[in-house]
């Protein structure tokens, strides 16, 4: 294991949404700050920096993680997915994103990236969730604007749509 020195910057390389990225960080730098300020991937937001709000949620090597509770140095060599990687192309939204838009599941949009990441991760593994499942899953996210119901509805609609889409086109 590499030994990190508190007072120096260390190179960090990982894959972000399938593409290699690299930068340098002091050992104390948080992954959220690294993504946002070093890489310029500002879609991941920071709402509390103590692990409660969920705005900073990303996927690291297939696992959901709070990027505000993760050090940048920890993800060297990992695969990271963030909200920037959700859409199939720059001018199209994915099924989950479209469901959010249709259901008015966001207002200010500050909490949205983290919620999308949790849902995207979950729905890939649980294609037919109940409302209770989704409420359970999202109880780790704070949204101050929507009152949550539109988010739940969007998630359930997206799940139904994804289930059909996956049968037809496994790469969606």
């Amino acid at each position: 294991m590499t030994r990190l020195r508190a007072d120096s910057r260390h190179p960090i390389r990982f894959k972000l949404n399938g593409r290699p990225v690299e930068g340098e960080a002091e050992p104390r730098m948080l992954l959220s700050d690294f993504l946002r300020h070093q890489i310029g991937a500002t879609g991941t937001h920071v709402g509390c920096e103590h692990g409660v709000c969920g705005a900073c949620t990303v996927v690291i090597d297939g696992m959901l993680a709070r990027s505000c509770l993760t050090l940048a140095a920890q993800v060297d060599g990992c695969e990271i997915r963030t909200v920037e990687g959700l859409a199939p192309s720059a001018d199209r939204l994915g099924i989950l994103q479209r469901a959010f838009r249709r259901n008015h599941a966001l207002q200010c949009g500050f909490c949205t990236a983290g919620i999308l990441m949790s849902l995207d991760h979950y729905l890939r593994r649980h294609p037919a969730p109940s409302e209770t499942d989704v409420r359970d899953l999202l109880s780790g996210h704070l949204c101050r604007c929507t009152g949550y119901t539109p988010i739940i509805n969007a998630a359930l609609q997206a799940a139904a749509e994804l289930a059909t889409a996956i049968e037809e086109k496994p790469d969606v």
Partner: protein, 1001 residues
């Protein structure tokens, strides 16, 4: 469902307006859903931008004796450290909301008055270094007694915050409307209620941010901040920064992560960071963190109210007597005391009550200064009024709904002037209630209650009826002044809204407004409104809602507050578009050889109504002013750009009788709900919540319901969970989202939303505000239901289980004397008490010596860096200690008293560090265990404050025990013998604790 207001015929044919009233998808969403939002911290800042971190007071009330920032200034990457003194030299005091010789700075000068008040600002090459630097600043404080309760602040012997206010009383005004004295004298019944409305906040998920730069060559500021308005604050900022308004360019980012009023409160930081940028000659950026936000951004006011009603035998309320004591925290920052006066015209709620007496007092306390917050004064007023209505019903053995209905403003009385001056624009409260009762199935809910009660369950129903004011009169706050003072100050009234509609050279339509949305979809709604005027599609209209005070049209009323968008701003955009459309109609008429009245805008064309084939593409007509002004009909004027200002004439200044039409529009809300309270846990569960809204014309049903749901969820939090809690010494106790609990998906049910639409005759689109209603109605509706379920006369928010248990069962008995327990005695108490014992395999004499030896202490105190002996009984120590997520360095000072070697000693000490302060006292007793070893018994009592109390409260008891355990284990090791397993005890503990939570004297 949406209903389009019948409006007077306009100059443009609006036949079949297709877009307004539809829930189209939002233009804002694609960017936000793909991570391409542009929030303040996402925007690049100029090269060379420095970053600020703020050192904040751990004390609620203390003199600043000295600030030693030398080490911080020398730290790597640090450009400057500014203290109050430096900031004072660069700025002038913020405007204080009442006339009094009191100053208000964005940073403490000489004295701190609340926990979290800025004390120093470090500016460095990056944020981390700025944070490192503030840890190196050493501030010596001389603590004063603090006062946190508004009524206590009025006591003659209360600690006084500002010499310029008599006691802590910043304002005291009395009003009388009608003849309340006579009404009370004549009435057969009098009911009264005392309310203590708590502090809370809507806590947007994005915190404050400011990027400021000062141009020394022109002495001008360029400041980007996620400020939300009102832009009357622009004048406060420019004055404080000592530049004229035209040298303060204030801009907002394209996206803002929620505000709900709260981001008005960023303005002192605009001044502070502006001053820092001037001091260092470079741009300076500051992004607030969550602890800072919860501790010290801004809060709604807490208020103590006594409300009495004179009531007839049939439940008719004849008069009200309000006595309100408003707590604005440590400073009366502009626009306070607006929270108290925003509702002044509406103190009779939805009711026809002609006699009203009011006494309004404003006090300062050692808490964070208050400001805008969703509902703004409404929750405080309606909690008192609607709780009282329930009490009247119970007192007269009537159904609360009967009392509500008996008192409503009659349906044929609109526009209705309330006793205190509001002009209720439109409504039909009776019909709204009837519809809600029917669609919301009240009868069925009553049956559910019967059933539940028959089974012995705790089930209650609550009702509330409220009027939701929107579009504030910029003059209402002057009601706090006397008539004479108002005359001297000059008239203040109105609410200038503005919108600009522009046509580009290929006929594209652009709209700009100064409405500063934080998620409310203004761009989408305006594209609908303007598309309808021009017969275009919303996607043809591009809307910009960023504001730049150097270039854009704005007024002091600009911004996103008082639910003014739909009623005022969207209407103004419509008027501006119509003005251009009228000109385009003349241009098209001349091209098509018809009269302008025959012109219709539809489907991308400008056409003759009578002969739709006779038409011309909208883009062609729209471009003509650019390309060929010479071919415009005479005196048409340009049709390129139109900026329109609109202010409703109804918003007049307070009259000489202090009547004030505080708001332009008045929506109506009628809520009822059924709740069940668990008999064991006292948890409140919302069984059903029905909310009826009349917000006039609905422009976008999806967004209107979004506002209602969002407001409901926040209000549910205010009712059940949320409180900015303070200890008696002013320590702030809820500094994380694990302490200040927001409702999640697990707690928020879906309310049943019902609409009725009586369009406002005073707004261009017939719309009224809708975003704040549930903040006003829901907390009291739930409280009424809980009171009904538990048969309580008094309920206090938030309705946390512990509080309900206390109310129902009475407070828990104190533990028997001598039996200290480690848990805090009650919620909000940050005293730690405990006792225990430990064994060490050495004789008492030996252990005694060890306890008094700095070398041993240094070795056995967890995290101890050094111990210095000042005298035989006085030690100083430095320790590094982690509690939960926070590790910090503390300087401790411990003295020994009542030494009885080798049997007993009392330790008293204090400690302080970047994360807080505390003091502790404990007694250790040593006795031989009969096996050559020593048995130690100890008891301790510690109080803590500062950051550690805000964020570590829940962890402290456990942490104290662990640390004490470590101490004794180490002591036993050091003594060379084994410690007994129950390694808990005290001496260390004490010293330990002392430094840890160290102290205030």
């Amino acid at each position: 469902m949406a209903q389009v207001a019948a409006r007077p015929a306009s100059s443009v044919d609006m036949e079949g307006r297709p877009w307004v009233g539809r829930s189209i998808e939002r233009v804002e969403d694609a960017a936000l859903l793909t991570g391409r939002g542009r929030f303040i911290d996402d925007l690049g800042s100029p090269p060379g931008t420095l970053h600020a971190a703020i050192l904040r007071s751990p004390h609620a009330h203390a003199d600043i004796v000295s600030i030693d920032a030398e080490a911080a200034r020398r730290a790597p990457g640090v450009a400057a450290v500014l203290t109050g003194e430096q900031v004072k030299a660069l700025t002038s005091s913020l405007v204080v909301g009442v006339k009094a010789p009191v100053e208000c700075w964005p940073i403490a000068t000489e004295r701190v008055r609340y926990v979290g008040e800025p004390v120093a600002v470090a500016v460095a090459s990056d944020r981390a270094r700025a944070e490192d630097a503030i840890e190196l600043i050493h501030v010596e404080y001389r603590p004063h007694a603090a006062v946190v309760d508004p009524l206590a602040a009025l006591a003659a012997d209360a600690p006084v915050l500002h010499d310029g206010f008599p006691g802590n009383l910043a304002s005291d005004r009395s009003f009388s409307y009608g003849d309340p004295a006579q009404a009370f004298a004549d009435a057969p019944h009098r009911f009264s209620i005392d309310i203590h409305y708590p502090r809370n906040s809507c806590t947007p998920i994005e915190t404050y941010g400011v990027i400021a730069s000062h141009d020394a060559a022109e002495d001008a500021f360029d400041i980007l901040a996620n400020f939300q308005g009102p832009f009357s604050i622009h004048t406060v900022i420019s004055r404080a920064l000592k530049v004229p308004g035209n040298r303060l360019r204030l801009r907002t980012p394209p996206d803002s992560g929620g505000s709900f009023g709260v981001k008005q409160g960023v303005f002192p930081y605009i001044v502070l960071i502006g001053a820092a940028s001037r001091a260092v000659g470079r741009p300076v950026k500051w992004i607030e963190d969550r602890l800072e936000h919860l501790t010290a951004s801004v809060s709604a006011t807490n208020r103590s109210t006594t409300l009495s009603a004179a009531v007839a035998a049939d439940g008719k309320i004849l008069a009200l007597d309000w006595d309100q004591v408003e707590d604005c925290g440590a400073h009366l920052r502009a626009p306070e005391p607006a929270t108290l006066y925003r509702m002044h015209g509406n103190l009779t709620g939805a009711y026809d009550i002609r006699h009203v007496k009011v006494r309004n007092r404003v006090v300062v306390t050692n808490k964070t200064p208050t400001g805008l917050n969703r509902g703004f004064g409404g929750p405080q007023v309606y909690f008192a009024l609607e709780r009282l209505v329930q009490r009247i019903a119970i007192g007269l053995s009537r159904d609360p709904l009967d009392v509500i209905k008996r008192n409503l403003v009659p349906a044929d009385a609109f526009p209705y002037r309330t006793a205190t001056g509001a002009l209720l624009d439109s409504g039909n409260y009776q019909e709204a209630i009837a519809k809600a009762v029917d669609h919301g199935k009240l009868a069925e809910l009553r049956e559910r209650r019967e059933e539940a009660r028959a089974q012995g369950r705790l089930y209650g129903i609550g009702f509330t009826a409220v009027v939701e004011p929107s579009v504030s009169n910029m003059g209402y706050i002057t009601t706090v002044l006397t008539v004479a003072e108002r005359r001297k100050a000059g008239p203040k009234n109105g609410a200038q809204a503005t919108a600009t509609v522009a046509l580009d050279p290929v006929g594209g339509v652009t709209v700009h407004v100064a409405s500063v949305p934080q998620g409310q979809g203004h761009r989408t709604v305006l594209s609908q409104v303007v598309a309808d005027v021009f017969g275009l599609k919303p996607q043809d209209v591009r809307v910009n809602t960023e504001i730049d005070t150097a270039k854009d049209a704005w007024s002091i009323a600009s911004g996103n507050y008082a639910s003014r968008f739909a009623a005022a701003v969207a209407g103004t955009a419509k008027l501006a578009a119509e003005r251009i459309a009228a000109r385009l109609a003349r241009i098209a008429a001349s091209q098509l050889n018809v009269e302008p009245v025959d012109i219709v805008f539809a489907s991308g064309f400008v056409a003759s109504k009578h002969n739709p084939e006779n038409r011309i593409a909208f883009s062609r007509v729209a471009a003509l002013s650019h390309w060929s002004p010479g071919s415009l009909p005479d005196d048409t004027g340009q049709a390129i750009r139109e900026t329109l200002f609109w202010t409703p004439p109804e918003l007049t200044a307070p009259d000489d009788e202090d009547r004030i039409n505080s708001s332009l529009c008045h929506g109506f809300i009628f809520d009822f709900c059924g709740v069940e309270i668990d008999r064991t846990t006292f948890e409140t569960r919302i069984d059903r919540y029905v909310t009826m809204h009349d917000c006039g014309t609905i422009l976008h049903p999806g967004m209107v319901n979004g506002q209602i749901r969002g407001g409901f969820a926040q209000a549910l939090g205010a009712a059940l969970y949320e409180e900015y809690a303070y200890a008696e010494d002013g320590s702030f106790l809820t500094g994380t989202f694990a302490d200040y609990l927001l409702p999640t998906t697990a707690e928020v049910p879906e309310p049943q939303i019902i609409h009725l639409a009586t369009p406002s005759p005073f707004t261009p689109l017939g719309a009224k505000g809708v975003g704040e209603g549930n903040s006003m109605s829901t907390p009291v509706c739930i409280a009424n239901a809980v009171a009904d379920a538990l048969g309580l006369a008094d309920v206090t928010l938030p309705l946390v289980p512990a509080r309900l248990a206390d109310l129902v069962r009475g407070p828990e008995p104190e533990p028997p004397a001598g039996q200290l327990k480690a848990a805090p005695a009650r919620a909000g108490d940050r005293r730690l008490r405990g006792d225990g014992s430990a064994s060490v395999n050495r004789a008492p004499e030996h252990v005694w010596t060890m306890l008094l030896d700095p070398g041993t202490l240094q070795a056995v105190i967890p995290g101890c860096q050094r111990v210095d002996r000042v005298s035989d009984t006085h030690f100083r120590a430095e320790v590094t200690l982690g509690i939960g997520p926070v590790t910090g360095r503390y300087r401790a000072d411990v003295q020994l008293f009542d030494l009885d070697p080798p049997h007993a000693v009392t330790l008293r000490g204090s400690a302080e560090g970047a994360l807080g302060f505390g003091n502790a006292e404990g007694r250790i007793m040593l006795e031989p265990d009969g096996k050559g070893g020593t048995r130690l018994r100890y008891g301790y009592d510690a109080a803590i404050g500062g950051k550690i109390a805000s964020i570590g409260g829940r962890l402290l008891d456990g942490a104290a025990r662990v640390i004490i355990g470590q101490f004794f284990a180490a002591l036993a090791r050091e003594a060379g013998g084994g410690a007994s397993a129950s390694a808990f005890s005290l001496p260390a503990l004490l010293g330990w604790l002392a430094r840890l939570f160290g102290g205030r004297r």
